[in-house]
């Protein structure tokens, strides 16, 4: 059995076990997301600066929160933080590479359909967006965001390997992360004419083919990088 086939089998078990909550949360998140998307026209007219932040949270974090509580990263014994499935699967005769791939399949199933629905809803909900896009530039726009989903969003899958962290270290890095995001967001807000989503529209319309190529390269690199990162973290972590 190929590694991806084995990984998909493991992922299917997890997804089946949490199907009920997964569908409920999926519907809830879609409803929430569409409410936010309703303000997309306002954003394109430059009147809603928080749209970017909300869109990024919805796009990158909702898929990770969609998994049932039992499958999310959590504090285990001592200073171990990890997803319980990682501990469970390592006790079985499953190669580490298959375990890693299974986490990626689960994350892909939780993120791609949801994210595609968001991206498809944009032209449906916004006349401004429709007027900016052609079919080709719209595909480039979707590819850019799917590439970002892999290059940025799959850090959530990779981080399930966990690690041995003291609580104060986690709090400190969380504060740094929030401060970093706030700083980047503040800088964009102060110095750029448009927000992040608007920029990606510009990239898709003005540099369509460059964007497509960069998106493909970013996707492949991100996909491989986060798997390698997860492999490194699993090797380093003590699952005691």
């Amino acid at each position: 059995m190929s590694e991806w086939k084995q990984a998909s089998r493991l992922a299917a078990f997890e997804l089946r076990a949490s199907m009920k909550s997964l569908i409920t949360i999926f519907i809830f998140y879609i409803a929430m997301a569409l409410i936010v998307m309703a303000s997309f026209d306002l954003y394109l007219e430059g009147e809603f600066q928080f749209f970017d932040l909300l869109f990024l949270v919805i796009f990158f974090l909702f898929p990770a929160w969609m998994k049932g509580k039992e499958f999310q990263m959590q504090k285990m014994d001592g200073d171990l933080w990890t997803a319980p499935s990682i501990v469970m699967l390592q006790q079985l005769p499953i190669p580490k590479d298959v375990i890693i791939k299974s986490r990626f399949v689960v994350h892909a199933v939780c993120s791609f359909p949801f994210q595609l629905l968001l991206l498809i809803s944009l032209p449906l909900m916004s006349e401004n967006f429709r007027s900016l896009m052609t079919p080709v530039t719209y595909i480039a726009f979707i590819l850019i965001w799917l590439a970002l989903s892999i290059a940025v969003g799959f850090i959530m899958a990779s981080s399930e390997a966990g690690g041995n962290f003291k609580t104060h270290a986690i709090v400190k890095s969380f504060i740094y992360m929030i401060a970093g995001i706030a700083a980047i967001y503040g800088l964009i807000y102060l110095f750029a004419d448009h927000g992040i989503v608007r920029w990606t529209i510009t990239l898709a319309t003005d540099w369509t083919w460059v964007s497509v190529i960069v998106a493909i390269v970013l996707s492949v690199t991100g996909w491989k990088y986060w798997q390698a990162d997860m492999r490194k973290m699993i090797k380093k972590t003590d699952y005691l």
């Binding site: 001592g78 319980p84 469970m88 079985l92 005769p93 005691l240």
Partner: protein
């Protein structure tokens, strides 16, 4: 024939706790119990065996393969049942069986059905919703049918009721019979040790005190009630209380007592728990 499990100078520091260096070899056809106080490092050692944590030094080989090497094929030959199953809560017994069974070439479905019937395990209930005792029974039902060469059990009977403990012991004895297999278990239950273990590996504060053959260990400790207690030290003497003497070298003690013209009013072998308590004192 080389040992199936070879632990050489294995070391691991966890916060203030230092495990090892531990040296131990487990041979085919044996049941070895790791015995020690709480926090003596038994579970940590088992997790090192499963390569769930990185050693600070030393080496562990299972069936000749280093557990921390790139070749993970040794895992097909080993079953590990931890004290607390992590990641099982969301799955029913049936789902767990469907997940686990195809991973093992020798999976014995009949044995699985036999154990689930014997323990009356509800297979359609989520693991997390089962009582601790039922969780342990389900864990055992999913461990023994894998029929791997090596079985590692961390406190397998801790939550079991008395009849289930006996049934478990019978199952394990049957499981050992047909092929060369090895079992490593940790337990605080004297009954488990008495009925199951061939060897005891005693651990204290992270250190291995020694590997003892159980029957030889039991035979090597004796308690004597004497007509009078010699003034000087007695060969083999471990402790004395009035005219009661405990020895860990009965032959030497008895020879000395005869030479001193002292009579033995009564003598008795020590219980295994007492011997372990003395060794872990």
């Amino acid at each position: 024939m080389p040992a199936w499990i070879e632990i050489k100078d294995a070391r691991k520091k966890v916060d203030d706790f230092q495990l090892g260096p531990v040296n131990l070899e487990i041979e085919a056809g044996t049941i070895t119990a790791l015995v020690g106080n709480n926090g003596s490092g038994k579970s940590t050692l088992l997790k090192l065996l499963m390569n769930l944590a990185n050693m600070d030094g030393g080496a562990i080989r299972i069936l000749g393969k280093p557990v921390d090497g790139g070749d993970e094929s040794w895992k097909r030959h080993i079953t590990f049942q931890p004290q607390k199953q992590v990641g099982w809560n969301a799955y029913t017994g049936n789902e767990l069986k469907n997940l686990i069974a195809p991973l093992y070439l020798k999976w014995d479905d009949k044995l699985f059905e036999h154990i689930t019937r014997l323990f009356d395990i509800p297979l359609d209930k989520r693991f997390g919703k089962l009582s601790p005792g039922m969780q342990q029974k389900l864990s055992l039902a999913l461990a023994l049918p894998r029929k791997t060469d090596i079985l590692i059990l961390d406190e397998p009977t801790a939550s079991l009721d008395i009849p289930s403990k006996k049934q478990f012991m019978d199952l394990l004895v049957d499981w050992m019979e047909p092929e060369d297999r090895a079992v490593v278990l940790t337990t605080h239950q004297a009954d488990d040790l008495r009925k199951l273990a061939d060897y005891l590996f005693l651990m204290q504060d992270g250190q291995g005190i020694g590997l003892y053959e159980k029957d030889r260990l039991v035979a090597s400790y004796r308690r004597y009630w004497l007509t009078e207690m010699p003034d000087g030290p007695v060969p083999g003497e471990l402790s004395r209380d009035g005219r009661l003497l405990i020895s860990d070298d009965p032959d030497a003690t008895e020879q000395f007592i005869v030479a001193q013209n002292i009579q033995v009013l009564d003598d008795q072998a020590l219980e295994l728990e007492e011997i372990i308590s003395l060794l872990l004192k």
